[in-house]
């Protein structure tokens, strides 16, 4: 039972997230075709591939620098809503880890909370509007439920993100493109919540020791 992780685990996280997004890009695009504009999978795959390329290119280590570089890469390569949102998330998350050495469950939760704060600052949405926030908030709450065990915490967060993703299905969107559909947005899972669930699951797997 690992109590803390280092920035190497975050590197693994980004790699696992890239692989999982690439594998499920068509699925994400199909979700976006139903209630958006059919580009979310393409966008995320392009962005995560660029992130891994930037990570491979090396540079100063440390969780702070790593996540900032990843965030800036997403901002510069994704576009659309997801680029600024996920980019800001990672930038803020990195900022919160600035002076943290070994990352425990609580400091990870603090960092995710900072990231979620960035999402809200950028996107001006709240929970329940059928966006990626509906996966992030449950994930954050689950993280907080295991302050001593980062493995259990991230696994619980991944499960909560997945439930949050599923819970977006009946929602009527009031933010993002799906809001244009009004009531017709109900009955479909939000693509951003789905990509969040994939990303949080990658985090849990990296923390649990899976290698990329």
């Amino acid at each position: 039972m690992a109590a803390t992780i280092g920035s190497d685990v975050l590197v693994t996280w980004l790699r696992l997230a890239d692989a999982a997004i690439a594998e499920r890009a068509d699925e994400l695009t199909e979700l976006d075709a139903a209630i958006g504009d059919a580009d979310h999978g393409t966008n995320m795959r392009r962005g995560m591939a660029a992130v891994v390329e930037a990570v491979d290119a090396g540079g100063p280590g440390g969780a702070d620098a790593l996540l900032k570089k990843a965030g800036m890469t997403l901002v510069s390569t994704v576009g659309g809503a997801a680029g600024p949102l996920y980019g800001t998330f990672l930038l803020r998350m990195g900022g919160a880890l600035k002076d943290v050495g070994a990352i425990g469950s609580t400091s990870l939760a603090d960092a995710v909370e900072a990231g979620v704060g960035g999402l809200v600052a950028r996107g001006k949405a709240a929970e329940g509007e059928k966006t990626m926030l509906d996966a992030w908030y449950p994930a954050l709450r689950a993280l907080r439920g295991h302050p001593e065990d980062i493995v259990a915490a991230t696994r619980a967060a991944a499960d909560a993100a997945a439930s949050g993703r599923d819970a977006t299905e009946p929602m009527i969107a009031t933010k993002g493109r799906a809001s244009y559909l009004g009531e017709r947005s109900a009955g479909h899972i939000d693509p951003g919540a789905a990509s969040t669930a994939i990303i949080v699951d990658a985090l849990a797997r990296a923390v649990a020791g899976e290698t990329a």
């Binding site: 075709a33 504009d37 901002v75 576009g79 809503a81 997801a82 600024p84 949102l85 993002g176």
Partner: protein, 333 residues
């Protein structure tokens, strides 16, 4: 999926290379950053205008770069807003010391990316004003939602603000005129078929052979509702009525009527539609001061059309009539 493309990953790059090759005297295209510039930048001391957005709406925006309209257009991937780096590069390149207007269609992604770019450009000392278009009456406007989409009025705002910038007006005035155009313009669209996003490879929505979508946007989003296909005269009513219900009365000024094709509807059909729209407006006592009929803000290979009405005051009409010389819109020059 049947398209004249090389691969789904290179559509935007290949099309920009084609634009560059097709308009070597008029445009300069940054094929690395995906930015379309005028071949000759405007004089020092004039306000510049930058627009951009996802690709797939051609000729918008790159086709509207040129004297009398835009100074630069940033092309995102298909239906994906450009990234801040592109917008910053364009803004920096076209600034002639009088500031830069960002004309942005109201989509969460577009707004956020332009916002990030404007923050950074402002930080480097360039005066940036932003006007967001949101004219689509198919979408409810509310403080608590993403709001209305920016569609057809964007073309009119680019033309009219472009003319104002060309005249040497200050940034605040150019922005005010663009804001006024947006405030007095409303649009409504419909589709006979979905478009197919190349990377998705199949139509974004399925539409039976005898049905149409009313209230669609320009990204293959399904509309607000679906109904049986109807004659052009009835379709015209589906577009005109919701627009008139929300169009400012504007001192009884007449309108600029803009009947736009979504990309795969041929001109003969757009003229049929325009005839019905003109008849309806006449019956409703709405004077038509100017008209534009054609494919100007499209949605890939979607069949269908949209109507934009702009309640145009005399200044807007004068600016509308001013010379414009771009690949997509050209008169008086």
């Amino acid at each position: 999926m049947k398209k004249l493309i090389n691969s789904v990953d290179t559509v935007v790059a290949d099309a920009l290379a084609g634009m560059a090759a097709a308009h070597p005297d008029a445009l300069r295209v940054d094929l690395d950053k995906h930015i379309v510039y005028r071949a000759r930048a405007k004089e020092q001391g004039r306000v510049a205008i930058v627009s951009g957005g996802g690709s797939g709406h051609e000729p918008l925006h790159g086709g509207f770069v040129g004297p009398g309209m835009l100074d630069a257009a940033c092309a995102g991937e298909i239906f994906t807003s450009p990234v801040p780096d592109q917008i910053i590069a364009a803004t920096t390149a076209v600034d002639r010391g009088a500031g830069v207007l960002h004309l942005v269609k109201n989509y969460t992604g577009d707004v956020m990316n332009f916002e990030m770019a404007a923050e950074i450009a402002a930080g480097s000392g360039i005066e940036v004003a932003t006007v967001v278009t949101n004219d689509d009456v198919a979408v409810e406007d509310s403080l608590y939602t993403a709001g209305r989409r920016g569609v057809g009025v964007t073309v009119l705002a680019e033309k009219i603000a472009g003319a104002a910038a060309e005249q040497g007006r200050p940034l605040a005035e150019v922005a005010e005129i663009a804001t006024r155009v947006n405030a007095n313009g409303r649009s409504m669209g419909m589709a006979l078929t979905s478009c197919t996003v190349p990377a998705n490879g199949k139509p974004s929505f399925d539409l039976p052979d005898d049905e149409m979508e009313i209230g669609i946007g320009i990204h293959g989003e399904p509309g607000r509702h679906r109904e049986k296909i109807a004659p052009a005269s009835e379709i015209a009513g589906r577009l005109v009525e919701p627009i008139l219900a929300e169009l400012p009365a504007g001192d009884g000024h007449g309108v600029i009527a803009f009947l736009n094709g979504m990309g795969a509807s041929p001109l003969i059909e757009l003229y049929v539609m325009y005839h019905e729209v003109a008849e309806l407006l006449a019956a409703r006592g709405v004077g038509i001061e100017r008209r534009l009929v054609g494919n100007y803000i499209t949605s890939l290979d979607m069949a269908g059309c949209s109507l934009t009405l702009l309640r145009a005051d005399d200044e807007m009409l004068r600016l509308w009539d001013a010379p414009v010389n771009t690949p997509g819109l050209r008169w008086g020059a």
